[in-house]
Symmetry: C2
Subunit: 475 residues, 2 copies
C-alpha cells in the first residue's frame, strides 16, 4: 500500500532484517561512517528524551541529584580496581595523542564511571554526616564491540549511571534493590515490557560487584535482552580508591557503594517486543507523540473540528499533532503507522455528514467509528490506557508462551534447537555446569529468580540444585 | 559570620581567586584527577539543566529536533574540510588504540560535529522537499586546552550544537541570524546579562564559516566572554562533503548550512556578572531553586505556615523548598546565600506574635518585614520579577560604565592599562591593524556592531574606517 510496508521484511521471515528495517523505516537510527557507531535520529532520540524525563523524575523523587564527571579516565586511575580493569580491558578505547604529540599517559574513553565517582567522593566526604551521596549522570559511554546493531550493540551508547555511597551495607543493599525495582516498574508500567527480575550468577555479574540485580526482557523471537541492572559493591571499590570517613562511633570506615544504569538499548527492546510488519508500535506512555489527527480534505468543518480536538487533547496533556502536510490521506495513515503513533483520528466531510469520525488503534490496527459528539478527551484517555494495558498483556502472554521448563540437558537442547525463550531450570551453583550449558547455542544464565524451596536436581550435572534460574540466548 | 564567607576571597582583592572560591563554596564544580577536566557537581549541573530546559523548549518551538551523532570522528572524514581541520588540529585528542591493539585509523574525539552532520545529511536528502533539516544535539566535546578554569576553559565541556541545512542562502542566513537572536534573548531575558551582539571579524570567525554572529558579555572585572555564537557556512561544507539535492527547477545544487552553539561556559559568565563576596547570586529565571523557607524553632504555627507557604508557592510554579535540616538558623541563612537562592523567607515565633515574617533578597541582601497575611504568591512573584529586572539593570549599568571609546592607539593603550572593558573604536578592516591592537595585552576584536554611518578613522592606522568594532580582553 505504501513505500513504508514495502521496505519492511516480514517479522516471521527474517527477524534480524525486520528489526533493522523498522529502525530505518521509522527513522530511529542509522549507521554512520564511524564504524560501529550509530546516529540516533530525531524519531529515536525523542523516545530517549521521554525515557529520560520519566526516569529522571523518579530518580529525583527518590533523592538523587545529577552531575557530570569527565569523559576520559587516566590509565593509572582506571587500573586501581583489578576486577574492573580486567573486565573492561579488551573493550577500552585509548586516547594517546593530542594534536601531533604523544601524551605521557593513556586515557580511556569512559566505559563506566565507578573510578571517577570514587575519586570524587574520596575528596568530598569526611564524616558519616556527609552520607549518603546519591549521584547520577546522563552521558555517553564507549565499549569497543565487534558487531553493530542499532540500539542493541554499538561502540558508543547513551545511558544513565547512578553511583551512590552509604554508611552501612544494609542501606546500600536497600538502594541497589530499590533501583532495580524502579527499573522493573519502568519496564512494566511505562514500556509495557514484562521483565523478569533477579540476581546474576557470579559468572555473569558486573566486574567488581558483590551482586548484580538485572531486568531481563524476552523479545518476540525468544531471544533475551538485559537492561536496567543495579549493582552492590560492598566496600570493594571504596577500599581500592580509599573512600572512607568517620563513623557515628568516631572510628574510620570505608563506605558501601552501589551503581545502576539503563541505556538506549531499551529502545531496541521496545521495538523487538511490540512492533509488527507495519512498523513501530509504541506503548502510549513512552510514545513522544500519542495522537495524530488527519483531516481529510479542506472542508471548513473538518479543519475546525481537527483544531478543536487538538487543543482539547493538548490541554489535557495528551501529545497531539495535526498532519496537515501536502500528502495523500493514505500516505499519512501509513506514515503514522510506521512511526508508531498510538492513536490516529481521521476526520472527513462524508463522515461528519453522518455525525461520526474514525479512530484507529496502532496496536491492533482496528478502526472504530464514533459519534463526533463523543467527549473526546475522556474517550482518548481511556483508549490510550486500554492500548497500554493490552500491549502489556500481549507481551506477557508471548513471554509466558515462550517460557519453558527443562529438567535435563536433553530437554534444554530440544528447546534451544526448536524455539528459544526463557528456560526455567534448576542449577547446582557450579560454574562448570553454566559453561556446559553455554555450549548449546551460547545459552547463558539470565538471572537467579529464587534460592528457596528447591526440590529438584541441577539441569546439567544432576546433583542437588540450589537455585531457580532463567536461562536464554542473549543479544 | 560563617564558614562560607571565610572561604571566599573578596572580589576586589583577587578576582580570579574570588571566582574559583565561589565555584567551590557553592559546590558548582571541582577539579579532578583528570588533568584539564572538571566534575560538574549537582548545584552546577542543576543550573545547566535549567538552561537546557529553557533553550530546548525555544529551539523546539522554532521547529528544531534533537538527535545524537557519534563521539568519535575518523581522521579522513574530519580532514575533508581544510579550514576546519587546520583550525582545530592542535586541540584534537586522538583515539589510536583499542584494548592492547593499535587501530588502523585515528579517531578524533569530537571538538565540533559539522563533519558528522554533513556526512549524515548527505545520505538522507535527495530533493529540496527534504529541506530544511533543523537538527540539534546536546553533548560533550573535547578541545585540548593548556589552562583550566572551571566552566570557562576546560578540555571537555557540555554544549548544544545546532546544525541546519537549507535550500537557499537567504533562508540559511535568516536561520543563523534567528539563532543568534535566540541567544541574545536568553542572555538578556533569562540570564540578566546584557550581551552585545555582532559579527566576528574574518580573523576571529569560526574556522570554515562565511560569517559568525556572537554574543559578547562583559564580566564584572571588565574582561569579555563569548558564548552563544551562530555561524553561516554558505555551501562551503556542503561542497567539501558533497551534500546536495535536486532543486525546484530540477537541477542539482549544494545545500546552505548553519551551526550554532552555547556551552556550560555560560555558568561561568553568570557567576562573573552577578555574584558577590557572599557567594553565588542567580537571576530568579535561571535559579534551579527560587525560594527557601527557613522555619526558626519548632513552634507548631511556624511549621504549619512554612508548609502552607511551600505548597502555595510550588502550586504556582515557584520552585520552593523548606530547609528543616538540623543546623542553626544563621548557618542556614549563610548557606542559602552562598548557593544563590534568590529569595529567603524566615518564619519565627517572635515575628509571628507580631503578625509578621521576614523576606530576604539575595541580590541586595535586603531584609523586608511583611505582614504574615500578605498574599504570598503574588508578593513573591512580583519580588522575583523585581530581582530579575534589578539584576539586569545593575549588570547593564556596570557594562555601560565599563564601555569606553578610543580614537587612537594612545587612548586604546591607556584604557587597557587602567581598567579594561568593552572598547568601542573604529576599524579600517585590515587584519594588520587587528594584529597590532592584539599586541596590547592580547586585546581582540569582539564583534563588528555596525558597518554604516562611519565618519571616522581607524583607531590603529588612521585610514578611513569601515566598521564600528567592540574590542576587549577575553577569557
Amino acid at each position: 500500500m505504501s513505500k513504508f510496508n514495502d521496505s519492511i521484511t516480514p517479522r516471521d521471515v527474517d527477524f534480524a532484517k525486520w528489526y533493522t528495517d523498522i529502525v530505518r523505516a521509522a527513522n530511529l537510527a542509522d549507521y554512520t561512517s564511524v564504524k560501529g557507531c550509530i546516529a540516533i535520529e530525531p524519531n529515536g532520540y525523542a523516545i530517549w528524551e521521554k525515557m529520560q524525563s520519566i526516569l529522571d523524575k523518579k530518580f529525583k523523587e527518590l533523592g538523587h541529584v545529577n552531575c557530570q564527571m569527565p569523559l576520559l579516565i587516566p590509565e593509572n586511575l582506571f587500573g586501581q580496581e583489578k576486577d574492573l580493569i580486567e573486565g573492561f580491558a579488551p573493550e577500552l578505547a585509548w586516547v594517546t595523542e593530542v594534536g601531533d604529540k604523544k601524551m605521557e599517559e593513556r586515557f580511556a574513553v569512559r566505559s563506566t564511571s565507578e573510578t571517577l565517582f570514587c575519586d570524587y567522593y574520596k575528596k568530598h566526604i569526611t564524616s558519616y554526616k556527609d552520607l549518603p551521596k546519591l549521584y547520577n549522570q546522563w552521558c555517553n559511554v564507549f565499549r569497543y564491540e565487534k558487531e553493530t546493531r542499532p540500539f542493541l550493540r554499538s561502540r558508543e551508547f547513551l545511558w544513565q549511571e547512578g553511583h551512590t555511597i552509604h554508611e552501612t551495607a544494609e542501606e546500600a543493599i536497600k538502594e541497589a534493590e530499590q533501583m532495580a525495582e524502579v527499573y522493573r516498574w519502568f519496564h512494566h508500567e511505562v514500556l509495557a515490557i514484562p521483565s523478569i527480575i533477579g540476581r546474576k550468577t557470579e559468572k555473569e555479574k558486573f566486574a567488581g560487584a558483590e551482586f548484580t540485580i538485572t531486568n531481563e526482557d524476552l523479545m518476540y523471537n525468544g531471544v533475551c535482552l538485559q537492561d536496567g541492572t543495579s549493582h552492590y559493591f560492598g566496600q570493594k571499590f571504596a577500599k581500592a580508591y580509599d573512600v572512607k570517613c568517620t563513623t557515628k562511633d568516631n572510628k574510620e570506615d570505608y563506605v558501601y557503594q552501589t551503581s545502576w544504569g539503563t541505556t538506549t538499548r531499551l529502545i531496541g527492546g521496545l521495538i523487538m517486543v511490540h512492533s509488527d510488519d507495519y512498523g513501530l508500535v509504541l506503548p502510549p506512555r513512552i510514545a513522544p507523540r500519542q495522537v495524530v489527527i488527519i483531516p481529510i480534505g479542506e472542508d471548513e468543518e473538518v479543519i475546525s473540528l481537527s483544531n478543536s480536538y487538538k487543543d482539547l487533547l493538548l490541554n489535557n496533556d495528551i501529545t497531539t499533532y495535526i498532519d496537515d502536510s501536502n500528502k495523500s490521506p493514505g500516505f499519512k495513515f501509513a506514515e503514522a503507522e510506521v512511526n508508531g503513533i498510538p492513536v490516529r483520528i481521521e476526520i472527513g466531510k462524508r463522515d461528519l455528514d453522518n455525525n461520526v469520525i474514525t479512530v484507529a488503534r496502532r496496536d491492533t490496527r482496528e478502526k472504530i467509528t464514533i459519534s463526533k459528539d463523543t467527549e473526546i478527551v475522556s474517550y482518548i484517555k481511556e483508549l490510550l490506557d486500554t492500548i497500554q494495558n493490552d500491549m502489556y498483556e500481549r507481551a506477557k502472554k508471548r513471554r509466558d508462551d515462550l517460557t519453558f521448563e527443562a529438567h535435563n540437558m536433553k530437554e534444554m537442547e530440544d528447546i534451544l534447537n526448536t524455539q528459544p525463550g526463557f528456560i526455567h531450570a534448576m542449577w547446582c551453583g557450579d560454574e562448570n555446569c553454566e559453561n556446559k550449558i553455554k555450549e548449546i547455542k551460547g545459552c547463558k544464565s539470565r538471572c537467579i529468580t529464587d534460592d528457596e524451596a528447591i526440590d529438584d536436581v541441577c539441569v546439567c550435572c544432576g546433583k542437588k540444585a540450589k537455585h531457580h534460574v532463567i536461562w536464554g540466548i542473549q543479544y
